[in-house]
């Protein structure tokens, strides 16, 4: 049979809809599994006012239960051949006669057992409990009560439809009894709708001007956006997050174009887009060159008599918004950037450390030092220094107060207007990059330096006063900051070591805000370990974890080099010679750590003492490989370095087959150990491959 279940609510927040549907679906499947009810196909539909579960191929009854249950051990179950109290109790508990108990052999010995049989009940009788359980068990990011009901939900529940195999399933929740009546569009067709089957559910709702399938509403919106874009002489700017939201804000989709005055286009595009998007959920439109045009697309819900009225109303609201934005733009432009910077002195960043003004002074200094460390030109050093100094100024502007997501963007625009160099303006904007795990990284050196400095200052500062992220909470977004640093280094191809970068941030604190952070040595180690863990996680997402560990084991240093080595090494692990070589290297490492722990690792090999063919060959091969690896390392050609090392597989094997290391002759032994040290150092240029295990 089939089941149609619809929860009718007052308008749910768009962000609640999909997660709640998922819970309903999973909850239903889980309940059916637990109750041994077979389920065919399960689908969900939704609008802001309804969450719908459609089930086909639902079994009419539970499967019968036939099960063997074990009880107490035989020695406790019978005494002198007679059943004990324990056996009787077990039989009673399982609902079988004592005579029907039998013995089973288990790992732990002989136990008594009972065969239990339960006839499956009709699904109809179980559905009220299942559905009520689901409704009561739903979780929302925020729940509420209403009227006198004790129940909680995302928004008040106003009706419930539950029909299985043509029969209504009755249960209650917050004063609502489930039935077979749904309701249409709140304004255009508010009447009651009798629904009985999946087949006519969607079509009946459509008659009542509700499109229950979000995919269909999305398609209507997309077509409408394309059309409006064309009318406006451009294309609606792709905005998947906004589209996702808007689909769940309406029960029926209509799209209309709203045209505003050209005059507003003097305000930066990002400001206009924010005004339209964050407050009004309008879609911005750009021309072929990517510049905004003076129209936007508005999605609405009611099939009104005259769409022009809706367009006019929305235009009035948009105008007020854009007037506000233009007002803030003009007001902010009257204030010199320096004035905003000085006002940052009134804003506390972290109470243990100080103000935003102090923070931007540190970012400025660290950014300049990073620019020097990456050997950028003198101009870039100065741009980074200046951009760091100005980078937080826009936090004091009215525009950013009103549109917090425009931080950085406004800093860039106001800097441009103030006559700052383009590189400075751009760097101010780029300080917040990358946004999110896959977000773009800065495109300019000055921007990258400020972005690094901004993040390192936060990492060192927060760790320095004990604001360390926990698994549950990372209120200062330090994980994102650490990963951001790593991604910038990778994308920009900066060969500069993490310890150096962290030290630069520490030096700045020492120079400008001495004594506010804890002991530098311990702090540096903590921050590096934190960043190292981020790097490991990041690399392990695309590469085998043991390869990542092997590379990081030789030192957490230059992120770029680590990343390249992981990539080069990762590609070679599937080659035939690789794993045997790793095994051989593991023997090398074991001998050096365990049997030669006291040996001098700097001891040079005495070629005169090389006796066996195997050790002579290995020494020669290692010498040659040493030259090749050195020049590959120099050229950062990690692929070549790895290949050279793989070439050592045969001589390493022969060496271990033919040569005994721990011989009685101390001079011979020491010389062979020196040879192994030489080999180890060679490998440690790339990775400790002894950590890589069989695939």
């Amino acid at each position: 049979m089939e089941l149609l279940f619809e929860l009718g609510c007052e308008e749910l927040p768009a962000r609640f809809v999909d997660p709640t549907l998922g819970q309903i679906r999973d909850g239903f499947l889980k309940a059916c599994e637990d109750l041994r009810i077979d389920v065919g196909e399960v689908r969900t539909l939704s609008t802001p006012r309804r969450l719908t579960l459609l089930v086909e191929g639902l079994a009419d009854a539970q499967a019968d239960l036939e099960e063997e249950r074990t009880g107490p051990p035989v020695r406790a179950a019978y005494k002198d051949g007679e059943p004990t109290k324990a056996a009787e109790g077990f039989a009673r508990g399982q609902g079988v006669a004592v005579e029907d108990l039998y013995t089973v052999e288990t790992d732990k010995g002989e136990y008594i057992a009972a065969k239990v049989f339960e006839k499956g009940g009709p699904t109809h009788e179980l559905l009220p409990g299942i559905l009520e359980g689901i409704v009561r068990g739903l979780n929302f990011p925020k729940s509420m009560r209403w009227a006198d009901y004790k129940e909680t939900f995302g928004r008040p529940v106003r009706w419930m439809v539950a029909v299985a195999g043509g029969e209504t399933i009755r249960f209650e929740f917050a004063g609502v009894t489930s039935g077979n009546t749904s309701y249409g569009h709140r304004f255009a067709a508010p009447g009651a709708i009798e629904v009985g089957s999946i087949a006519d559910y969607e079509s009946k709702l459509a008659e009542f001007l509700v499109i229950a399938d979000p995919a269909k509403r999305r398609a209507t919106i997309e077509a409408g956006l394309a059309e409006v874009g064309q009318q406006a002489g451009g294309k609606v700017i792709d905005d998947p997050a906004l589209l996702d939201e808007v689909v769940n804000l309406i029960e029926k989709a209509h799209v209309i174009r709203v045209e505003f005055s050209q005059d507003y286009l003097e305000v930066p595009d990002e400001v206009l887009i924010s005004s339209m998007r964050s407050h009004q959920r309008y879609f911005a439109i750009a021309d072929a060159n990517g510049a905004l045009v003076n129209s936007c697309a508005v999605v609405y819900n009611t099939p009104v008599h005259d769409p022009k009225v809706v367009a006019a109303g929305n235009l009035r609201v948009l105008k007020a918004r854009l007037d506000d934005a233009r007002f803030f733009w003009e007001q902010d432009l009257r204030v010199p950037l320096e004035e905003f910077v000085s006002r940052l002195g009134d804003v506390v960043w972290l109470k243990q450390i100080g103000t935003m003004k102090e923070r931007s002074a540190r970012i400025s200094m660290t950014a300049a030092h990073i620019a020097e460390a990456i050997e950028a030109g003198e101009d870039t050093v100065e741009h980074a220094r200046r951009a760091g100094y100005l980078c937080k100024a826009d936090l004091m502007t009215q525009m950013v107060y009103e549109f917090p997501d425009l931080q950085g963007v406004m800093g860039r625009e106001y800097a441009k207007k103030a006559g700052e160099a383009d590189a400075v303006a751009k760097a101010i904007d780029e300080q917040y990059l990358p946004k999110g795990a896959d977000g773009n990284t800065p495109q300019t050196d000055a921007g990258a330096c400020v972005a690094l400095a901004e993040k390192l200052d936060a990492l060192v500062g927060c760790f320095g006063v004990g604001l360390v992220p926990t698994s549950a909470a990372d209120p200062y977004a330090l994980r994102r900051a650490a990963l951001g640093c790593i991604r910038i280094l990778q994308d920009r191809g900066y060969s500069v070591s993490l310890p150096t970068l962290v030290q630069l941030a520490l030096d700045t604190y020492d120079e400008l805000d001495a004594g506010k952070l804890k002991d530098a040595g311990e702090l540096k180690a903590e921050v590096l370990e934190f960043m190292g863990t981020r790097l490991k996680h990041q690399l392990a997402a695309d590469h085998p974890a043991d390869v990542v560990d092997a590379v990081i084991a030789v030192g957490l240093d230059d992120v770029l080099s680590i990343t390249d080595r992981v990539e080069a090494l990762g590609k070679l692990t599937s080659e035939d010679d690789f794993l045997p070589l790793a095994q051989g290297f593991k023997r090398v490492v074991n001998i050096l750590r365990k049997q030669a722990a006291d040996a001098d690792s700097e001891q040079a090999v005495n070629t005169g003492l090389l006796q066996e063919a195997g050790e002579v060959a290995l020494h020669e091969a290692a010498q040659k490989a040493g030259v090749a690896v050195n020049s590959a390392v120099e050229a950062r050609d990690w692929d070549a370095a790895c290949r050279t090392l793989i070439g050592l597989k045969a001589p390493v094997d022969t060496f271990f087959d033919d040569v005994m290391v721990m011989v009685d002759d101390e001079a011979l032994k020491a010389n062979r150990i020196a040879l192994l040290f030489q080999l180890e150092k060679l490998f440690m240029n790339v990775a400790d491959i002894s950590q890589i295990s069989a695939r």
Binding site: E11, A147, R186, T302, D306, V309, G313, R316
Partner: protein
């Protein structure tokens, strides 16, 4: 022909009076929102049913714009409705009230957009929506969950109409000052001078030492009156302290960190008064509670 400002208010009053609301008058102390009127803040607490509608003048000193901005005002009017407990068809009733002032739901796109309301100074929060008319925020609709830090016994629906905005929409004017208040009289003629003068006062002329002192004194008086179990006089002083803070805030005399401290002090007062009001109403035997509900809410020996 669109309604003028006063006719719109009269229609709303009539609509809610017909529904069965008590039509109350504003409370005579400055406040930032209709929520702060005791008819909402205090009466939403406890088990007594309460349906009320009233116009409330609201003062928000920081929003003043010297009468120059067509959409922003330092003082304006809200129309406030409380339905406690919230009826099951509360949204339908609300949308009918829009019809009563000439907003046809088939002419305009009416929408409920998630907006969770929170008033930290009052220790109050609720879930609900902004109601949009063709994209314009016309009403704040909230199911109160907590007031003064106290979980509500019976959840009420709060409906707050932004009167000026709705009137601008109905009358199709771009500036609030062009609204027709009564035949031949505009909103600007009545209120523009007030906006200009209070902006000058709040932004330039506030004697902050005086206000800081007042705040301390009003806070102390509120506490003293709470101890004396004079709940309503105490509440007046909380409102006065709150407005004193709002004025100081507009004048720029309060730093960011101090601001949080002042908000905390007002919230403490709000929490104190909320629990005392609940106790007091119980002591009084819940005067607004129908006889047949008293047994449910009052212990047997007290009923």
């Amino acid at each position: 022909m669109a309604l003028n400002f006063q006719d719109m208010i009269l229609r709303l009053q009539q609509f809610w009076a017909d529904y069965g609301c008590v039509v109350q008058q504003p409370w005579d102390i400055e406040k930032g929102a209709g929520t702060a009127n005791a008819a909402t803040f205090l009466r939403s607490l406890g088990p007594e049913p309460w349906n009320v509608a009233y116009v409330e003048p609201c003062r928000r000193p920081t929003d003043g714009r010297y009468g120059e901005n067509p959409n922003r005002l330092g003082a304006y009017y809200q129309f406030q409705v409380i339905l406690k407990p919230s009826p099951d068809d509360v949204l339908d009733i609300y949308f009918n009230s829009l019809k009563a002032i000439g907003i046809d739901p088939m002419e305009h796109d009416l929408r409920l957009v998630e907006d969770d309301w929170e008033q930290p100074t009052l220790g109050a929060w609720g879930l609900g929506w902004e109601v949009w008319i063709d994209g314009m925020e016309a009403t704040q609709f909230t199911y109160f969950q907590q007031v003064g830090g106290v979980e509500l016994d019976r959840v009420c629906a709060e409906i707050t109409y932004g009167l000026e905005r709705i009137a601008m929409f109905l009358q199709d004017v771009d500036s609030v000052y062009d609204l027709e208040w009564a035949p031949g009289v505009t909103y600007g003629q009545i209120r523009h001078q007030e906006e200009v003068e209070f902006s000058h006062y709040n932004f330039e002329q506030v004697d902050s030492d005086l206000y800081f002192r007042w705040f301390d004194e009003m806070e102390a008086e509120a506490k003293r009156l709470m101890e004396a179990e004079l709940v309503l006089p105490a509440y007046d002083f909380i409102l006065k302290a709150n407005h004193t803070f709002n004025t100081l805030d507009a004048s720029g005399a309060i730093s960011v960190t101090e601001r949080q401290k002042y908000i905390g002090r007002i919230r403490n007062l709000a929490r104190g008064i909320a629990t005392r009001y609940v106790d007091k109403r119980k002591d009084l035997g819940y005067p607004l509670l129908p006889e047949d509900q008293k047994a449910q809410w009052l212990p047997a020996e007290e009923a």
